[in-house]
Point group: C2
Chain length 118, copies 2
């Protein structure tokens, strides 16, 4: 755990936001200006591989990172891209996964957030 990795990890753990690599890079650089963008991407990769954070692939937008490691659905604003966590009701997907050897899921619900509704 280098200072860089620790810093990036702390930024993600500190808030429920689902930030992009670029946002994390900017935040991290305000604390460690010498930090390289490549280091951010490399460490995000490591943290995801180690299961400490989760990567969220977004439609037509850069990926976002989630401090919550347990699988859960997301609510995504169509306009601004803001993401919030949802709670998965027990057994919700069972009718779909029956008979399939499903290893994971990705469920996004889209809406327009209050801020974007204006």
């Amino acid at each position: 755990m280098t200072r860089q990795r620790q810093l990036i990890y702390n930024i993600i753990r500190a808030a429920p936001e689902h930030r992009t690599a670029e946002e994390i890079y900017d935040l991290a650089r305000s604390e460690m200006p010498s930090l390289a963008r490549g280091t951010v991407y490399r460490n995000l990769g490591v943290l995801v591989r180690d299961g400490r954070i989760r990567k969220l692939e977004m439609a037509d937008a850069p990926a976002r990172y989630d401090r919550e490691r347990r699988p859960h659905p997301h609510l995504v604003c169509e306009k601004c891209g803001r993401v919030t966590d949802l709670i998965m009701p027990e057994g919700l997907l069972d009718p779909l996964t029956a008979g399939l050897a499903v290893t994971g899921y990705d469920l996004k619900l889209y809406h327009v957030c209050p801020a974007c509704r204006g």
Copy 2:
């Protein structure tokens, strides 16, 4: 509807495969070698905007295109990326969407397809 657009649309409609832009480009070029990659992307964009096909954003991989326009879940192979359509059981997501003004969803189930299981 130019010949190029028609060709691209036909390729998508002809098979249940969920192809990438590059695959569509290659297939189209075997019939119209002068076709430009930019034209493929532009027309895929138009066809999606017109609601004739659907764009599927994939994790760490190029987008794929789906001839089926009605919303439905997808089963995605973690190894090869192959995508197949699933049928959404009536009201499955209701417990999640209750109270939210949800405009759409994206549901992917991951597995390892028979071919990749070897």
